[in-house]
């Protein structure tokens, strides 16, 4: 191994990589600009759209209730509701979004109320359609308020205090500090994003430096130099690793900025904005990167090996695209409830790192697991690098045709 030669190869690969417009787009522009634009743009748009939908007068239809003028009169006076005349195809009209919801007022509603009989008011809406839900919510609120007023008047008629039906109140209070709250919600996500991005960031350079070289005819050029194959692989490997880590770092910076902007833009209500206020400290973020480093090494070496096997750029793409799923599945699994670290899971690559990152961001450092995971993923990474070096020494792979 010659460190000077590894450095020369790395320097040359870096120059070429930085001069490639596709690199600039995939590694720098997309992560730096796409996240803030998407996050700020989407949340602002959603806030505006939801706000508008909430304020819009909801068209609703009343089914029955002809004999209950009292409740109908009150319903007509609700300012957010517009009552349209009854039609038999009310269900179709809800589906086609002509009306938001329909309410079935039982026969003899007013008189039944007077007699204290049990009644059920049915509200029909289209689940999953946000405007329909808002219409149904308006109706439900009206009937809840109406029921409360009926209860109050019944109690008053019997000279009973209102609190007789509410002898005590129940309230939930949070004791977790803010970083634990956001840690639980976003912790898994941070580890997941770092793992996924260090994988996706390595794909393009891994292809370009192997199958790309074969396709451009430069592989034979470099193989004819006195450079050893080991130095060649390591020079290329360090570039792929740099690309992988810089994609992950730039994306995390960009995501952090986006969350900050959304939380402070005033586009959201304070209550919602609080969910975007990240309380993840720098030590936790650095620890996540440290844990993900052996994985990034594993990805860089594995992707180089697989891409080297391909004859062309396109073939390499078809091999590496499914690899994303192999990474996504264990990373997503770690976000599911019920997956907790144990000695066996600590040996499963990707899943173990994702699980431990979730814990770290939530402020819990299981040192025994952290060491075990670092050790096991370093062993996998070293094995992948060893295979990459071996593959670069095989003529059948280098000159596969």
């Amino acid at each position: 191994m010659n460190f000077r030669n590894i450095g020369i190869v790395y320097g040359k690969e870096l120059t070429e990589w930085l001069r490639d417009k596709r690199t600039l787009i995939s590694t720098v522009l997309v992560p730096l600009l796409a996240f803030p634009i998407l996050m700020v743009g989407m949340t602002s748009l959603m806030t505006v759209m939801i706000g508008r939908a909430e304020k819009e007068t909801a068209k609703i239809m009343i089914i029955g209730g002809e004999d209950s003028t009292q409740v109908l009169e009150k319903l007509r006076r609700v300012k957010d509701l517009e009552i349209v005349p009854y039609a038999d195809d009310w269900m179709k009209r809800i589906s086609e979004k002509e009306i938001r919801a329909a309410v079935d007022v039982p026969k003899g509603f007013d008189s039944a109320l007077g007699q204290g009989k049990e009644l059920t008011v049915k509200i029909y809406f289209y689940q999953g359609e946000i405007k329909s839900s808002f219409g149904a919510n308006h109706l439900e609120k009206f009937f809840d308020d109406y029921r409360d007023s009926v209860i109050s008047s019944r109690l008053a008629a019997r000279n009973l205090p209102t609190d007789i039906i509410k002898p005590f109140a129940v309230k939930q209070e949070n004791v977790a500090p803010p970083e634990k709250v956001s840690g639980a919600a976003l912790g898994g996500l941070l580890g997941y994003m770092v793992i996924l991005l260090s994988m996706t960031g390595a794909i393009y350079p891994a292809i370009d430096l192997t199958a790309g070289e074969k396709e451009r005819g430069t592989m034979e050029t470099i193989l004819s130099s006195p450079l050893s194959r080991v130095d060649l692989v390591l020079g290329k490997f360090f570039l792929v690793l740099s690309a992988s880590l810089s994609t992950a770092i730039l994306s995390i910076i960009s995501m952090g900025t986006s969350f900050y902007l959304v939380g402070h833009s005033g586009a959201m209500a304070k209550k919602d904005a609080a969910a975007f206020q990240l309380h993840i400290g720098l030590p936790a973020v650095l620890s996540v990167f440290l844990m993900a480093l052996p994985l990034a090494v594993l990805f860089a070496a594995a992707l180089l090996t697989i891409a080297l096997f391909a004859k062309s750029y396109k073939e390499a793409q078809s091999y590496l695209t499914p690899m994303t799923f192999i990474v996504v599945i264990p990373a997503v699994a770690s976000l599911l409830p019920g997956f907790d670290l144990n000695p066996k899971l600590a040996l499963v690559p990707i899943l173990s790192t994702s699980l431990v990152c979730k814990e770290i961001v939530a402020g819990t450092f299981h040192w025994n697991y952290i060491l075990l995971i670092l050790l096991s993923s370093s062993v996998y990474a070293a094995a992948a690098l060893f295979i990459a070096v071996k593959m670069f020494q095989r003529e059948s792979v280098l000159f596969r045709s």
Binding site: K12, E220, T221, S224, S225, P226, F399
Partner: protein, 244 residues
Amino acid sequence: MSKRFQDKKRGEIRAVDNVSFTCQPGEIYSLLGANGAGKTTTLRMLATILEPTDGTAVICGHDVIEEPEKVRANVGFLSTATALYPRLTAQELVEYFGRLNGLDELTLKKRVDDIFNRLDMNGFRDRRCDKLSTGMKQKTSIARTLVHDPPVMIFDEPTTGLDVMTARTIITFISDCRDRGKAIIFSTHIMSEVERLCDHLGIIHDGKLLAHGTVPELRAKYGEHNLEEIIVKVVGPLLNNAEA
């Protein structure tokens, strides 16, 4: 040297079968043969890009199997498959290979300036390789093979696809290399190049070296002046047998 490949459909393929020759400093040895005859595989083995299945070759005292890196340090290899890095400039590319050959920065600068002057490349030294014309690319490739001043040069069909003027520059350059005392091995199927340049030639077919010697020796042996006729006489009977 021999080289065998395993093919799933065709079984074992003998791409090069017991080929043996020598080339001295200040000499040009030319390998002649049709496409698929085994020329490129032979040259790749000499450049240590491929390893021989049997036998070996010794270049400047170094064995191609035992010391491939030392062999490569003594060889300049140019083939139709040795392309240039598109996003490096001509100068950066030549410097890259100079550094990989262990040249210090001072020697490298002198060497690069000298080569760029000799090959009249100063007009495009800062232009990216993907913006160069075919002729400029070929000159840059030559500069790349020359930067470490190797005693042995291997050229695999160096003029294929080039216009007349560029091809002429390359031929003059190869001849110039011989005059500087380098040992040159090159493959071609252009007879005029062979007649103009080579001291020794070998006719290769189906991986086997069927005839070799100096041009006058081969002319005397086969009773033909024209090289093409000599090749027909050497290879023809084998082709007729294969057809029969």
